[in-house]
Symmetry: C2
Subunit: 361 residues, 2 copies
């Protein structure tokens, strides 16, 4: 990295928060966005780190995201809580729902959180990891803009529709996965377009439904689900759980709602929490978690096999010790944000959202 | 079909039940097994139909399955019910848990059913379809014998670990999928071995971890997960949800428990039910389900795309009108079962369970 700046995680958080404040977010949202961006930067999920700030800015400047609305928590049923995000970005709504959801799960054994009217451009693992840090098992499901063809079809219908899962451990951070229903992330195709690289087989079809390795053709066509019809079924499930179940939007409705083409789809997210102690008589959570360790040990005993999130935790240890390296150009853009400058969104791909890099005006 | 007998679904049920009674099951289990076998036969899921009766018989004759124990329903938490199957086959336990789970889900919005100590050789879709028939969204997860290598590994660790999901519809049967975390069902490999056919790429590795198209080598080696590491993550999730969460067995512990090698692993199953009406203020389930129809219509508007379970419902219409065709050899075996004859299990594959076909002694 020839021109990069080393920043502590405290510095990353302070810079992200100041940038959001500088662009007009109120303290509540600026803090929550900085929290999620810093967590991603820390775990070297750069795509959701500082690199992602333009999406938040663009959502705000387009008028589609509220700068300051406070999420509203209500009870829909004894086991179901709702947080109406009020057409603001999701991190604050998810933070507000976290403790109440955990409390309900511990009381009832299982509980759900319906987050609605939230602009979502963040990863899902933070919310399920938080639940697991409280000793709970967590699921999360969110839909997005329609980029992915159903198995057998040729036109975009589903979002990349990630689902996340977390299992708590007695020692150390939880086992967590957060994976798209598509074969690849949208951003991975965009990066290959930028770098002039071709796509692996199985990622995408062109606008005629033919398999393609050309990133430009892929962005004009459709992404494919992972694992064929099984991944397509999971994409369908996520679509139903994050949309109609919550009275919120299907991916193609989110796209229609995103009139300013901000790349920040507005919709629902379903989070489910289970308390392991309430799934066995006597509630001996320690025995359950020790039991799960047998499975993890057997998996890790196989060369080449690894637990999901292992790499993320290795990165976390490095970042907590040494901070992270941030490209100079990104630091410059953040400084413009902090100074309140208007920052121009980058060129759009046809039918696609802005690229996750910044150019200051 | 040169030598087959047409049977009405009533005849299938009566024959299956009489066979189970003839082999020593009490009425409660004989009826529940006949219910699940008949549903599978009706939907042309032949692998779980009459063809599957030897697994039930073998589990009983080995002494591993109770012929008559009544499942015990208890409440573990306001949102969590448990049915201890008492080391008997799962269909009766699942039937006993169905209405109480649905009632809890309607009361609390979301509820879970922990089925433990159940021998499982049936499909998962009947339990989630029943929930959807009650207007609920259903999930089910079950682990099995260790046949599947984790992504990156080369040795069997996970079961084929299916998960099922169901979404209710206003008109007609629900949208349901029930899919293994492995690239293929175990039985599909066994059928290709029997028929001298090779396996598609991506299904299996041999005992040295090399990709193989040879069914014999595959059965000695390991099956692969669908969709690479993403399918492997789902297999891991299912393992945790059906095992340690419920205080029940991991797949490799199920195999150790199956001393008689019956091919009927004994373990846990997690079923989760959500009431859509409790996920929106005002509880207008009709609006939610109509909304979901927009998604289904968009999917079906694409040539080649289809909803999961569509083929099963087409088969159901045929079977309900015309009955099903059952091979004469299978009818003969069932008649031996009904007469109480001891039926010899077929040759075993190395490290594997009995083949799902019958030979009477």
């Amino acid at each position: 990295m020839t021109d990069a700046v080393r920043m502590s995680l405290e510095d990353v958080h302070a810079a992200a928060k100041a940038a959001m404040l500088g662009q007009g977010f109120a303290d509540n949202h600026a803090t929550a966005i900085a929290n999620t961006v810093t967590a991603a930067e820390r775990d070297e999920c750069r795509h959701h780190g500082l690199f992602r700030l333009p999406f938040y800015v663009n959502g705000l400047r387009s008028g589609q995201a509220s700068p300051d609305v406070e999420p509203v928590l209500t009870e829909l049923a004894p086991g179901v809580l709702k947080v109406d995000a009020g057409y603001a970005f999701s991190p604050l709504a998810l933070e507000r729902g976290d403790a109440p959801l955990a409390e309900r799960a511990k009381e009832h054994g299982i509980a759900a959180l319906a987050v609605t009217n939230a602009l979502n451009v963040a990863a899902l693992w933070p919310e399920v990891e938080r639940l697991a840090d409280r000793g709970l098992v967590g699921f999360a499901f969110v839909s997005s803009s329609p980029y992915v063809a159903p198995a057998g079809g040729i036109k975009p219908l589903f979002g990349t529709n990630p689902m996340a899962f977390a299992w708590p451990r007695l020692d150390g951070p939880p086992v967590v996965f957060d994976q798209a229903s598509s074969a690849s992330a949208r951003g991975e195709i965009q990066l290959r377009l930028r770098d002039g690289e071709s796509l692996p087989d199985g990622w995408a079809i062109d606008s005629h439904g033919r398999p393609t390795n050309d990133p430009q053709e892929a962005l004009l066509g459709a992404q494919m689900t992972f694992g064929g019809f099984k991944g397509s079924n999971i994409a369908l499930m996520v679509e139903l759980l994050a949309g109609p179940l919550l009275g919120d939007k299907i991916s193609f409705e989110q796209a229609a709602h995103d009139k300013a083409n901000t790349g920040a789809p507005c919709g629902g997210e379903l989070v489910i929490a289970l308390d392991p102690a309430r799934f066995v008589a006597g509630g001996d959570r320690v025995a359950q978690l020790k039991h799960a360790e047998l499975l993890f040990q057997s998996l890790l005993a196989q060369d080449g096999a690894r637990l999901p999130s292992g790499r993320r935790y290795e990165a976390r240890r490095r970042s907590e010790a040494d901070g992270v390296m941030v490209p100079r150009s990104l630091v410059d853009s953040i400084e413009s944000y902090i100074a309140g400058k208007v920052v121009i969104e980058r060129a759009k791909y046809e039918g696609d959202h802005i690229t996750a890099s910044m150019a200051s005006a």
